[in-house]
């Protein structure tokens, strides 16, 4: 016998929390997002003076003691604190009152693409400079990528399913899709779901520099992230977190919850092609979109807005454009598409969650955020990418795309709540 009501089969978003380079908290972030604000600057979190890339989208003025007690705040990895902050904001936004029974049926799926890279970097230095008996006992717990979700559960006493997806840059979309399934199956009544990332440190920047993946426009950070533009030269590293409260529809209605949107479609495929490069035929990301649309029980013409993966890399942007044409057909030319990464950079494991939140807010308000820095679209990028200025449009469904190293392709379909 399950100890909670039978699932309605529908999952809605009833709370949102974000920590981003252009704002912490949903309404601050959203206002800056619609304004096309820049979050990219010279890196201040670490000394990267010898590196080819010296810019990133950092979360400014983030104070760990605002979110955790003094002992934990001092030593915990930034990637975990970001998750705790977003989870606290999302819980408060949802207005939920936790009871013992609800805690047993409230789960957490929060992932990270990389995990606690700051702790990894610091403790590796301790190991080599001071020896194995000087490394911290917190190295492992604060490094492993499942710990953000583990600590969030501890903060609220949530005993439902707890798991971390690690699918690189599609992590945040996967956790939301999987959490929605968990509620549909009846494994939980409510879930905190999302992604977190904090890799702006020496190891993180050096490693992505070595992969030749990032923009080197160091003299002009505000123009560096330029998805779909012909002068783009790689992605800009971002950091932050996005967490949503997902809830069984009946449960949300019964308590009179504020409902943002409904999670209606989820599709994923694997490229099975190359460790980092997306396959240029774009067939697999197109199949992920098709599957997400089919699982929503709608047709492609119903999609009014696409929040693109849009990383600002030479190969990624035209390939995603091709995937949209394959999946949406002629409708690809009438749908509006934009990339949030033009403002906040690529937040890796958090991107899928933050950008799903953008879709949810676009549905709520009937306005779509712009693609910043899109001055001259690439010839191979010939869709409507909402350059520079936000645009009003009544929307019913929105699509979010996320693609990750390892060949992970994930798409989510969100429906406006009426």
């Amino acid at each position: 016998m399950p100890d909670h009501p039978a699932p309605s089969g529908r999952v809605v978003v009833t709370g949102i929390g974000v920590v981003t380079p252009i704002g912490t908290g949903v309404e601050t972030f959203w206002a800056n997002c619609l304004a096309g604000k820049n979050g990219v600057r010279k890196i201040t979190l670490d000394d990267v003076s010898p590196f080819t890339t010296q810019i990133a989208a950092e979360v400014p003025d983030f104070e760990p003691t605002d979110w955790l007690d003094k002992k934990e705040a001092r030593r915990i990895d930034r990637v975990i604190t970001f998750a705790v902050a977003s989870a606290r904001l999302a819980m408060a936004d949802s207005g939920i009152v936790l009871t013992e029974e609800l805690r047993d049926n409230f789960g957490v799926y929060i992932g990270s693409g990389i995990g606690g890279l700051n702790v990894m970097s610091e403790q590796t230095k301790v190991l080599y400079q001071r020896g194995p008996d000087r490394v911290s006992p917190f190295w492992v717990p604060y490094m492993i990528a499942n710990m953000p979700g583990g600590i969030v559960a501890i903060q609220f006493g949530l005993h439902g399913p707890n798991m971390a997806t690690v699918t690189a840059c599609s992590t945040g979309a996967n956790t939301i899709g999987e959490a929605a399934h968990a509620i549909k199956r009846g494994d939980a009544t409510m879930m905190l779901a999302g992604g977190t990332e904090a890799s702006i440190c020496d190891i993180g920047i050096a490693a992505f520099c070595a992969a030749r993946a990032m923009s080197t426009r160091n003299d002009s950070p505000e123009h560096a992230s330029r998805p779909f533009d012909r002068d783009r030269d790689g992605f800009v590293m971002g950091e932050g977190s996005g967490v949503v409260v997902l809830e069984d529809y009946d449960h949300a209605i019964a308590r009179g919850a504020k409902i943002y949107a409904e999670i209606v479609g989820y599709g994923m495929t694997a490229d099975a092609h190359h460790i980092t490069a997306i396959a240029s035929d774009a067939k697999q990301p197109a199949r992920a979109i098709t599957r997400a649309v089919a699982s929503a029980g709608i047709t492609v013409e119903d999609i009014g807005y696409v929040n693109a993966h849009g990383t600002s890399t030479p190969i990624g942007d035209p390939t995603e454009t091709k995937a949209l044409k394959l999946a949406l057909g002629d409708h690809a030319y009438s749908v509006a598409v934009s990339s949030t990464k033009s403002m906040i950079g690529h937040t890796l494991g958090a991107a899928g969650a933050i950008e799903t939140i953008v879709c949810i807010l676009a549905l709520r308000d009937g306005i779509m955020p712009p693609t910043r820095n899109l001055d001259n679209p690439d010839d191979a990028c010939d869709l409507d990418y909402i350059p520079h200025v936000a645009r009003k449009k009544e929307l019913k469904y929105a699509l979010n795309n996320s693609f990750g190293f390892g060949g992970h392709n994930v798409s989510l379909v969100l429906k406006k709540h009426v």
């Binding site: 007690d69 003094k70 002992k71 934990e72 705040a73 001092r74 030593r75 000087r134 911290s136 006992p137 917190f138 717990p141």
Partner: protein, 80 residues
């Protein structure tokens, strides 16, 4: 009991465990009174080793339960 050692032990404990200085009494137990778990104790011992330039072997750690125990241990160790 050395005031200097006690002050330095208090300073390190406040820093590591995020507790208030007035909670760090001679009789205070790390696990019972100051909220330390087993991992906290490992890190705290390392911090004492760094502060006083000594080595505290694992077999001695089990005998150190309170602030007073640490002060006495360090006093004895530095006297040797």
């Amino acid at each position: 009991m050395s005031e200097d050692i006690l002050n330095r032990v208090t300073k390190v404990t406040v820093e590591e465990l995020g507790v208030k200085a007035e909670e760090v009494t001679v009789a205070a137990s790390f696990t019972e009174d100051l909220g330390a778990d087993s991992l906290d104790v490992v890190e705290l011992v390392m911090a004492f080793e760094d502060e006083f330039g000594i080595e505290i072997p694992d077999e001695d750690v089990s005998e150190i339960k309170t602030i007073g125990d640490v002060v006495n241990y360090i006093q004895k160790k530095s006297g040797e």
